[in-house]
Symmetry: C2
DNA sequence: GTCTATAGTCCGATAGAC
DNA sequence: GTCTATCGGACTATAGAC
């Protein structure tokens, strides 16, 4: 083991692949382009990862491990639900902001036709859903927990969170919005609001009134 | 014009492409596979669409036109905001349910490296954002309108809506949920709740209490 | 571990017959 | 409008030298 090296060839390949897969898509990006960016030869991909598909799986493995770790860092314990949720959203937003390419690849490369990848993702997602169910939702009072339908709200909240990063170039283009620290701080809080008030509770009398005439 | 034919070759190509792009991804799917499914020859793609890229653009054009039309059908007029939102969500959910492949292709093929497609999508999204701003939000009372930050809530709500359809195979796998008419009816209402109560208003005193001990 | 060279396949586009 | 045949290039994977 040579711990002195800046980055191993394996790590450089993985990072180049993340960046290029995010920008061009898994199928559109050739190994030649990845290894050129990483400064190695094509044969190294198959030596270190076995195949292009396994390289993608290694990328997704890294992403889902981090997502799982973040959930485990915030959900167990006796803190109030609101604090858990707000803390979780802040950290997950920071993580997605700093690892947008990783998230983009791990999310958008779902629909493609590689059974190994689809099964792998389903298994990792199921594990993370388990953390939400047993560590976060189990601590809620009954009347609030009954508001939550995991098969509806789970993907919805996840989509609300992730879609910002997936379409960020369009957002910058359309809204002329500077995406700085303060934007992401309030972004995380707005999403937490959507869970706290949009999923857990309702106050119809405030929103059914007619518009001002 | 031969209006008697079941479907034109052009339409059959487009429909095969939607299905295959959704399943395998734009880059992973060859023209040969599309034309085989459509029962025509490769040359027909370039004859009718000009190129593979223009074929993708034609698909996205169809999707965004429909999205625009649905917004225009629900947002203008004096109906209460809640009714506009609930009616819109019901129709958009039905549309996405019946055109999942079209939506999947039109959404997920963003990040790739084709400048013409990215510009095209940005322009269509901007047009639809304009409908929301001028026809839906303009009718809200001031104190509610100030709660909405389009650059945050727009992509978030869109992501909450669409992500269900993008990850539907995983949902079926993980939650063992039958996705029938009644599921989608309540799905649309839950999402409307997230907008009405999660975006427009808040009621913190209900969600800050400690869990039951 | 890392390389070069190459095998074998598939790609998008188009020329030209009908 | 629709076809067949084909061009030039890019792809993944691997064999084999070092």
């Amino acid at each position: 083991m040579n711990a002195r090296e800046e980055k191993s060839a394996k790590e450089r390949i993985l990072q180049s692949a993340v960046e290029l897969f995010a920008r061009k898509g898994y199928a559109a990006c050739g190994l030649r382009e990845i290894v050129a960016a990483a400064g190695v030869s094509v044969a190294m991909v198959n030596y270190h990862f076995g195949s292009k598909e396994s390289l993608l799986q290694a990328i997704m493995d890294r992403f889902f491990s981090r997502i799982h770790d973040i959930a485990m860092a915030h959900f167990p314990g006796d803190a109030p639900f609101e604090l858990k949720i707000r803390g979780y959203f802040r950290e997950i937003v920071a993580f997605l902001r700093n690892n947008t390419d990783l998230a983009r690849v791990s999310f958008t490369e779902l629909p493609h036709d590689i059974p190994g990848i689809v099964d792998f993702k389903a298994e990792r997602v199921m594990k993370i859903v388990g953390v939400f169910a047993s560590e976060l939702l189990a601590g809620l009072p009954e009347h609030l927990r009954r508001r939550i339908r995991p098969e509806v709200h789970g993907p919805a909240v996840m989509g609300a969170l992730v879609s910002h990063f997936l379409v960020r170039p369009v957002i910058e283009n359309v809204f002329d919005q500077e995406l700085d620290d303060s934007f992401y701080e309030s972004f995380a809080d707005e999403l937490a609001d959507m869970v706290l008030y949009g999923v857990l509770h309702s106050r119809p009398e405030d929103t059914t009134q007619r518009k001002e005439s």
